[in-house]
Symmetry: C2
Subunit: 331 residues, 2 copies
């Protein structure tokens, strides 16, 4: 190739060209490396590894923590008691209080005056007192996991931390503390099963086919799925002010083809409803409550044209806790 | 087209042609249907649905039943006692007795003279008394699931039936009744953990990282995986006459990236070794037994250049059995 005057300084030209070339190569390599790293599969996906994690700082990863969603009606004293308890649960990201006391001011001012608090608490004021308000897709919800709790249920932090770790191993199921079942009858009509009072009819022991969402972890994606359900389903819940949890179990069972729930046996679970000053004692005391749930089962089977609920007899407890020898046997 | 004399009988010709044509069409359709059915995904794959099955007839599907593999040495009286117990376990397909009494006649004649038996029992005569003989790929093994039992362990049929149903939900893990753990130390040297005597060091309660194969269900595919392991691994087992179960747990953990085992808490598990006439009391009474297992852990980490074992604190029990209220709480 034709050489110009700079040929007289071959070393210097080569040097500059080499430098430019090297810079470009390094730059390209960095770009490629960056792109590769971004494309690497994110191991922290929805199927979390099962190791117990040490408590993290407040800025917890949205994959490693959960949002507590607690709907409340006419039991603000219990709500506040429970908030003080639950605000410090390990791996809690945020609390969403679904305020069903229509027209009544939330305790937000009082809450703020008693800060600081371990996690943010958001009060979502509702315009209608609906059971299914808690199943809305709240923009504040950043985590994959939702912990849904009734406003009269107290569960120990140990139980919740363990159940959360279990949910991380079964993220597509409802992992919770309150199992229930349906039973088939020869007439083909279903009944909401009250455990030892009815048997699913096969094998040894009992079975459950639902885990109630008033004390359970489940994937926030199911909230979106719930919203997409036929109007008839939403109407059913509104008419009965009941059965939102039965619907959620139907959804999950249909979606996964598996039992909708995984039952974690609680060590310490308490119902505080007797401790409220409001005198309000909860929907499940209504005379028609259980009959409504049987009604809902059959209505839903009709709407979906199938019975998707599946039985399970898996009961999960925590190995070596609270009694470090709870796994021992006499062998 | 040119017509021949048969044109004069158009209906008849058409009839024959139509008949031939129809036959060909039907035949082809049948072929296609047959091919399609063969290609349809087999829903009864390794991930079994979790429904409890009613007891089947003796010709059980190889997917719906398991093979009991029991290795025996110097405890034929216990073996025969256990065979009478285990031969009638629900979902049992066949029994393979790994006869480690080298040079000694098997009790096959006596067994046959006391027939008929619920399932076939095969006596596999061994030429060398090796611990890992039971991990061979026996041609008689037709099922996906293996139930491996020590020849001195008695577990109730209820426990086995339940654990089998649990294995069907976790077919890539060792589902069994005897959990153990390893512990890390600051020196990086591992120790075989004797439960309450050592702690894995994090969280509440205890953890296990192995489920022993002497009382467990696992997928028969792991036998093939075992055979493919480096010679050093087989040599380790032969030298110690120990640790085959630790190796299996390493395999499973490496293969799945999950904890190798799922612990099912047995209701009724008994060790019969004191009941033998032979006076032989089992390998685990040797003075060096536990130390050997710690030794094996570190040797295997060295061979595999990693510690693949993962901790779990999941303890599974059967819902509503034996006590139909075992899931109740005081809420």
């Amino acid at each position: 190739m034709r050489c110009h005057h700079i040929c007289k300084l071959p070393g210097r030209v080569m040097g500059i060209r080499l430098l430019r070339f090297s810079s470009v190569v390094i730059f390209v390599l960095l770009l490629v490396a960056g792109a590769l790293m971004a494309l690497l599969p994110n191991i922290k996906d929805d199927k979390m590894p099962n190791l117990r994690r040490e408590p993290k700082s407040q800025s917890q990863s949205a994959l490693d923590s959960f949002t507590l969603v607690m709907q409340t009606y006419n039991r603000t004293d219990l709500l506040l008691k429970l908030l003080n308890h639950y605000q410090a649960i390990p791996h809690l990201h945020k609390v969403v209080v679904v305020w069903n006391n229509v027209g009544e001011k939330t305790p937000e001012e009082m809450w703020n005056s008693l800060g600081p608090h371990p996690v943010p608490v958001v009060f979502k004021v509702q315009t209608v007192n609906r059971m299914r308000n808690r199943l809305q897709i709240f923009p504040e919800l950043e985590t994959k996991a939702v912990l849904m709790m009734d406003d009269d249920t107290l569960i120990s932090a140990y139980d919740l931390a363990f159940a959360f770790s279990v949910w991380q191993q079964f993220p597509d199921q409802i992992v919770g503390f309150v199992p229930r079942k349906h039973v088939s009858t020869s007439s083909g009509i279903y009944s909401y099963g009250s455990f030892e009072l009815q048997t699913p009819g096969f094998g040894n022991g009992d079975q459950y086919s639902m885990v109630l969402i008033g004390a359970a972890f489940f994937h926030s994606g199911y909230l979106e799925l719930f919203q997409k359900q036929p109007d008839a389903v939403h109407t059913l819940i509104d008419e009965t002010q009941n059965c939102d949890d039965i619907v959620m179990n139907f959804l999950v069972a249909k979606h996964t083809g598996k039992p909708s729930g995984v039952f974690v046996k609680p060590v310490d679970i308490r119902n505080l409803e007797k401790e409220t000053n409001s005198g309000y004692s909860g929907m499940w005391h209504r005379a028609e409550h259980l009959l409504q749930r049987s009604y809902c089962l059959n209505k839903l089977v009709n709407i979906y044209n199938s019975m998707p609920l599946k039985y399970s007899n898996i009961m999960i407890s925590q190995f070596g806790f609270p009694n470090y020898a709870n796994h021992k046997n006499k062998m």
